[in-house]
Amino acid sequence: MLSISNLHVSVGDKPILKGLTLDVPAGEVHAVMGPNGAGKSTLGYALSGRPGYEATEGSVEWNGADLLDLDPAERAAKGVFLSFQYPIEIPGVPALTFVRTALNAQRRARGEEEVSAPEFLKLVKAASKALKMDFDMLKRPLNVGFSGGEKKRMEILQMALLEPSLLILDETDSGLDIDALRIVADGVNALRSPERSMLVITHYQRLLDYIKPDRVHVLAAGRIVASGGPELALQLEAEGYDKYLPAAA
């Protein structure tokens, strides 16, 4: 269970999140939708601990731990995974090396045994096949020269291997054509499970045709201003965010 309570987050001196409260029970998929500038990406960064995103008030509990006390790597070891809107290119570090380093670092942090090289290769081969990824691509530096779709698939591959329990998808559909979107959504849907919570942050309803949420929340001006079932997303798509803006101002 993810429990965000009265969360205030500032970037520099500027308050972005202003008392955000939100619960995501285990096994549920919640969408957070909102207009540009509402604080959607800030929410993802604040949950994952990006430096510069300072929580000035409130709490974020995840499976009993207060995430705000932990650094980003510790949060990752607790199962938090933020899928980036624009995955970062890391020259000089092969994708395979990176994922194995990350997986073993998480396992060490949890007191589990590391995965051996042959065992890891087996896991990666199976996961990349499921995502229709060219295995040779994984020998290249992470995300360097990858297309938008390839980068997103790389994110899904990492999810599949790292098996996070809290998935935060930040504008996962941006830059994807319909075919890539379907593959990515299938990858995400395959990870749905009773133990796993997902927070899908998106501006457009389109992604929610493929990743069906249990609940939809509207984020405007740093707060959740409305919550409802999947029909709320359709209503937003039809009516836009206008009606939430004056109320939030």
Binding site: G49, F81, I88, G92, A105, A109
Partner: protein, 340 residues
């Protein structure tokens, strides 16, 4: 003392200071006012980082030659050139001469292995690469943080020769690895690479001067460095294209990362061109580790220190990857990885 090298540890008046342009970033006089007492004899301990690659050896211990000081390579050969220092507060000099005959392929594995503290070492090498010979020189420098060390090489590459060099420096109180190359071109190729990885208050100075003396020669230089803590990296690269050296193709790149607010990088790339028909380029960048990349890696569970080490290695390894000799490349890769 050879006339090629103008520093004499027994004569303080020969110590360069910042008043000399070429030494403005590495002011030896500031650290060394008087000639140091000569170092005593030293024992040779460990077999050196390149032992497993075999070959012949020239060894100096505190400036004293253990066996020969000269070597002439013919055919396919490996030579380990070891300058070993084990002294406290004293000074020593050593000089070696190496030549590669026409058609020879020499792998020259040079190490500056220091123990003790606050010693002064001045090590020199004269290297001749004959027409059609190919020399790969790897220079690994590891010394105590308070040592003063100057390594100078004078290299002559004759027409059609190939000289490739990779310097790996970890710094000292003052550590300078200087290479001067007379490039006789006519199809000859020079690669003058290097990297520095500096912690604490260490300094390293990679200085090189490549003079293109004739037409149709190529030079390629890639230097990368990382300065952490209060360390200081210096790169001085000069490529001179003399009159008549048309058809020269020379590329120089120096790229450094500053990993702390107190660290410093001083770079002075120079291209001096007296010929008309040449292609020369240089690039110089100094930056910080990519914060977004660091966060991304941490977000996937890699702890901050490990993420920094991985990014640092990724940055530096490009220089190591350019070492063509596989055995030497792997030794250097492991050596470097162990020091991240």
């Amino acid at each position: 003392m050879s006339a090629l090298f103008d520093i004499d540890l027994a004569d303080a008046s020969t110590f360069p200071s910042r008043r000399t342009e070429a030494w403005k970033y590495s002011d030896l006089k500031r650290y060394l006012r008087e000639a140091p007492q000569p170092s005593p004899t030293a024992a040779i301990g460990a077999p050196g980082p390149f032992y497993d690659l075999g070959g012949e050896a020239i060894v100096f211990a505190n400036g004293r030659a253990v066996g020969v000081t000269d070597f002439i390579a013919s055919g396919d050969q490996t030579l380990r050139l070891r300058y070993i220092s084990d002294a406290v507060g004293t000074g020593h000099s050593a000089g070696a001469r190496v030549a590669a005959r026409a058609g020879a392929r020499l792998l020259l594995l040079e190490t500056h292995e220091g123990a003790g503290s606050a010693y002064v070492a001045h090590n020199t090498l004269e290297l001749d690469v004959a027409a059609g010979a190919e020399v790969t020189r790897i220079v690994l420098v590891e010394e105590p943080e308070d040592a003063l060390s100057i390594a100078q090489a004078q290299v002559k590459v004759e027409a059609g020769g190939v000289f490739r060099q990779t310097v790996i420096a970890t710094g000292a109180r003052l550590q300078r690895v200087e290479t001067r190359v007379d490039h006789h071109a006519r199809g000859a190729h020079v690669q003058a690479d290097g990297l520095y990885l500096l912690n604490g208050a260490r300094q390293a100075d990679l200085t090189s001067v490549v003079r293109h003396l004739d037409r149709d020669g190529t030079t390629s230089q890639l230097i990368k460095g990382v300065a952490r803590d209060a360390a200081r990296g210096v790169f001085q690269g000069k490529i001179v294209v003399e009159r008549g050296a048309d058809g020269t193709d020379a590329r120089m790149g120096h790229h450094a990362l500053i990993a702390s607010e107190r660290a410093e990088i001083d770079a002075k790339p120079e291209l001096i061109i007296y010929a008309d028909d040449v292609q020369c380029a240089h690039g110089n960048t100094v930056g910080a580790l990519d914060e977004s990349a660091l966060f991304y890696m941490q977000q996937r569970g890699v702890p901050a220190d490990e993420a920094r080490a991985l990014l640092t290695q990724a940055f530096l390894i490009e220089v190591v990857d350019r070492i063509e000799h596989e055995g030497a490349r792997e030794v250097v890769r492991e050596w470097l990885t162990a020091r991240l």
